[in-house]
Symmetry: D3
Subunit: 144 residues, 6 copies
């Protein structure tokens, strides 16, 4: 088993607001991230695929295919978007780094027909990132 | 003469649209940056001050003071903002990297009472940045 | 489960010397790090917290709270210090990257009342870092 | 248990070609990497060793020794080489990032007489890297 | 006047050898870079264009156009190439970082019909780079 | 003319104190940097040399020679040192980033027998650096 990670980038804007919280709670918890005009980030995404090396190609995964999947399924959808308004998943959930990482997992997992999707890492800034290994049962059997 | 540079960061969103261009021209020139919902970046700002070393402190500029000026005059104003809607300067001009850099110069120059403001460098992403040395006559006499 | 990591920085000085080793052994093992005047580093700390996403906030942990805890419990204590002389823990143990990482774990674990402290990563330089997952029994049950 | 990682770098060239594939398949799968003249990279290697802290030295591993082993066993062998032609292991297997990482594991494992070799991470570019934890049985018992 | 810089990357291999030097001199001066099999790098290129801001677009240069020019004129030509054998300019001159930077200037200058080409910076590794401002007379009148 | 820059690193500790200032002024101006135990940094040095390309070697400067000069004249002297106590130049002047950069210029200029020393850039942290182009008269004639 070997783990291959590919990095991609997208720029998007978002804001944090929960309909279940009062305006005061929204301001207290989310601070300046609660500004409904939105603000933005250069997100950096690292997607890790786990697999065995194909003897003929010497690779876990066809890199061109992986790059195309990442672009078509993720960055073309999220890049240059106001996540709260323009991406359906975030009409229901707040586009926090955590929720975006989980959404990216969901976007990718049905399309990964090479190896197995192992981890989604998402940097909001160089100083803040999250790691998601999939739903509990799956993660338990595969985490490293 | 010595040049001291301090880096700061802010996250903001923006979009590109010119009232002087037709919708078609806006789309052609600005592409996905023309999306009026906005998208965002982690901007990285480098401000360079030129001066002589104060013999007693061994410094060109009081670093705490410089940090405070950058925060109060620039990052507190731009951070977590939708630049087109929330920053007055960008009601008139498009918040391109070029125009934001020039606006930051204008914000800082009256407040730099230590040394001389030499350069504003602004990164929109790690792969794209602009340098501004001030209005022509000033730049001509000080550029290095 | 999701893992959120926040980065922080501090600058400190240290030197390596063991009272259990002869002067010759100290010099041989520690080389120029044995210089008792000390030398310094810009340490980079990455603290990872594991938890479930709070449905209302969309977050594993209140980021403002995490930032305050890191600053109060760790960086305010270690920043701009000569670790051997000014931080009590290092009167007994040598402030190697390994021991500083473990000490940071001890400083943080009683204060992490959100999620669970999962990992402390400490970079001494960009080319050298250590990872600590807590005392053995705890690490065994939680490592990813 | 604590994990110490040291980074090293080497520059090498390679190309991708499989004798088991037709010329058309080689071109289709490997694209411009199939160019037999070779092309090159600044590889970045991160080697992680797992161990307990030696009470007297405060360290998992003698850093000077680790640095020497990395240089003698890995970077002196691979640096400034055309991997396909000049490194015996790659006469049989294609020098993909995956295979180079595994080869580095094999080069290092008999020489690591301190702690236990835990992981080899190899970056081909900042946007593409692989992680190898050793042959299956060993990895299963040690992964974190 | 404002200066806009765009970064691009390419991977190539090369070796250093001068027909005017004896084999001994080649080995002494170029060391392991003299290996005729070649070795490689991930080159990072930063191209700076100087100009005035177009009032309607708020930009010095059409970024899409600049990106296309860099790709068509430079990275498509140099990426995944063995420079000594596959790029005509380096049949006559040694593909040192200095000479590659000058060659990139030559490739770009007739194609820059926006602003004025101001500087080519080329990193061979993160620790080594060159800056070229064009032929002397031109550089003298434009350098900053 | 072309400009070649080489990067080097050293770790050192220092503190800020002026004998010409009262204890109160020292504390006010230098803050926690006034702590006499010292604190430390991983300094990053970039040295730029300006010259013409040697036709036979294709280089401005013999890179091995430049590397040796930087190591012998600068990093061997400053690395793993408490600058205030162990480097003679800083008995008289405060080891601020500004003064260290100037001192490195003085260390290097008599040894640069290749090209011309153009600039010393010194990073104290990734967020703070200074540039020094030499004494005024020299800088005036050579700056770019």
């Amino acid at each position: 088993m070997i783990y291959l990670t590919r990095r991609a980038e997208f720029s998007a804007s978002h804001y944090y607001h929960s309909a279940e919280l009062s305006p005061e709670e929204n301001r207290r918890i989310f601070g300046k991230c609660n500004n409904p005009h939105g603000h933005g980030h250069n997100y950096v995404l690292e997607v890790t695929v786990e697999g065995e090396i194909d003897r003929r190609s010497g690779m876990v995964v066809d890199l061109k295919h992986l790059k195309e999947v990442l672009q078509r399924e993720v960055t073309d959808v999220l890049d240059h978007r106001f996540l709260n308004e323009e991406v359906a998943a975030f009409r229901e959930s707040i586009p926090t780094t955590e929720n975006i990482a989980i959404e990216i997992w969901r976007m990718l997992v049905p399309k990964v027909d090479f190896g197995r999707l192992y981890r989604v890492r998402l940097y909001e800034t160089p100083d803040l990132f999250v790691d998601y290994y999939g739903p509990q049962e799956q993660a338990a059997s595969t985490q490293t």
